[in-house]
């Protein structure tokens, strides 16, 4: 295992210490919990946004804490949902009396732990609502299963619901807007290499030198199938072929695009993917309103990428354009 760490048992604590040291002007760590909150929290009169999940997806979620996005990011162990206590500590630290919206990625563990935390906070008389992000079209949608996973599309929920909260919208309204994003956002990813959870010490799966995994989850959950490595154009065509018909995204639509690196893929390759995505969108008559290319929701050092589309309307456009100032996401 080739990692620049000290001890697998304390990677999350040390990471958060390093993050707080770097971004002390924007965020602070809650003592006794792996929770990063916006500096000056709770922000008076504002609905609070809390998200989180397992660690190993940096900059998600602590990197999105700050003006115009999250009030708190809760960091679980690597690839493991945080505990209810941690989420509860986050809610307590940021709730200003206007209520808190929990942004939950759709994993059994996250759902249960965040729900338990919400119950704890409600028992304290706090107002808590939640929204579940499930943008990964690689997973068959079915009421009989855990349903689709939440992946990089979550960042658009943070951005847009965050902007709504920042301008003073009510909890009900912030939740409505977050749900609108969820309804309009779809993603799919693929991986060229596995990654290694520090505490496990070995890769979470194996791929032959000429293989890639299509529909990969961000915790190394196997995808829809394996395939020989193909040119970027073919990979993008396959992923877009699954994403486009899903909402669906059609001629005349305006979208925001996110090309998300999973950790080990160079920016060069992400831009090459973006160019292919743009070509398809242009061919389909879909207008790209904004594009984000970079590492937004990673899987440790996994090589691979995901593509996210968000269908926009005037309301979402306005909120997407709003300023944000967080460790990992700046916009003016």
């Amino acid at each position: 295992m080739k990692k620049l760490i000290n001890n697998p048992e304390v990677v999350v604590e040390e990471m958060l210490a390093g993050l707080e040291a770097a971004h002390g002007n924007l965020v602070r760590k809650v003592s006794d919990a792996n929770v990063i909150v916006r500096k000056g929290s709770p922000v008076a009169g504002k609905v609070a946004l809390v998200s989180g999940g397992g660690s190993g997806h940096e900059p998600a979620h602590a990197g999105y804490v700050g003006e115009g996005m999250l009030d708190a990011g809760v960091a679980g162990a690597v690839f493991t949902s945080p505990t209810p206590d941690a989420v509860y500590a986050a809610i307590k630290a940021v709730d200003s009396g206007q209520g808190t919206l929990l942004v939950i990625k759709n994993y059994t563990g996250d759902i249960m732990n965040f729900e338990m935390a919400g119950e704890m906070a409600q028992a304290d008389g706090l107002q808590v609502a939640s929204v579940v992000v499930n943008d990964d079209v690689a997973v068959e949608n079915s009421t009989w299963t855990a349903g689709r996973r939440g992946i990089a599309g979550t960042i658009f929920v943070h951005k847009i619901a965050g902007a709504a909260a920042e301008r003073g919208d009510s909890l009900e309204e912030v939740k409505r807007i977050a749900e609108k994003v969820v309804a309009n956002v779809r993603s799919m990813g693929m991986a060229l290499t596995p990654c290694t959870v520090p505490a496990a010490g070995k890769p979470n799966f194996t791929l032959a030198e000429n293989e890639m995994e299509i529909g990969m989850g961000i915790h190394g959950e196997p995808g829809t199938h394996r395939d020989e490595i193909r040119p970027a154009k073919d990979v993008v065509q396959h992923l877009m072929g699954k994403i486009l018909p899903d909402v669906p995204y059609v001629k005349g639509d305006e979208v925001a695009v996110m090309i998300n690196g999973l950790g080990g893929t160079p920016l060069m390759e992400l831009y090459i993917l973006n160019q292919e995505v743009r070509a398809i969108l242009e061919e389909e008559g879909i207008h790209t309103y904004r594009t984000y290319v970079g590492e937004y929701m990673t899987s440790l050092e996994m090589a691979g990428a995901s593509i996210t589309l968000l269908k926009l309307d005037p309301e979402l456009k306005g909120l997407l354009d709003a300023p944000a100032n967080t460790p990992a996401f700046h916009q003016r």
């Binding site: 679980g76 949902s81 209810p84 338990m116 299963t145 959870v197």
Partner: protein, 208 residues
Amino acid sequence: MNTARLTELILNLGQVIEQNRDYLTDLDRAIGDADHGINMTKGFRAVADKLQAVAPADPAAAMKTVGMTLISTVGGASGPLYGTAFLRAAAAVAGKADLGRDDLLTVVEAALGGIKERGKAELGDKTIVDALQPAAEAIRTGLQSGAPTAEVARRAAAAARKGAEGTKEYAARKGRASYLGERSIGHQDPGATSTTLMLEALASFLEG
């Protein structure tokens, strides 16, 4: 079973989990995210520390400590599930100084109820339920048959193992493995396996 014996049993469960840390993690690597053994080991280590620190007053307090500790240290799916199970088990025998033969069923049924409520899984969804529900049934019939308690526990463990092994036959419909659809077939469920290991440890403990 008094508080001291129960505490000993719980420490025992933790050891068995820790011995099977890599095995459980490997099962989870195939159809999940390769951490079930890591998560459970972490949780039971914290449980051992906590039990030492608090010295619970009665069996219910001991089980409540286990439940609270698992919930607050494990995270993931297994933390709230097993945590809820122990909390419910504790509630079901509240106030008792000693657990008797019939409490075995009370405790296991309460645990199963908690897991089903929290996780919304049914038999055949390829989860903990697929080991714990047959075990609960085996305990009910075993107790009715008049078999010795240790023997009943052994039958429960066997039923759990059969249930856990049976999970290989079908696809997951709950938890992370459900994303795999048909590709989860052929793999044994990690959570059903950790449940089985704990029930086997219980049987050995009652026998030994």
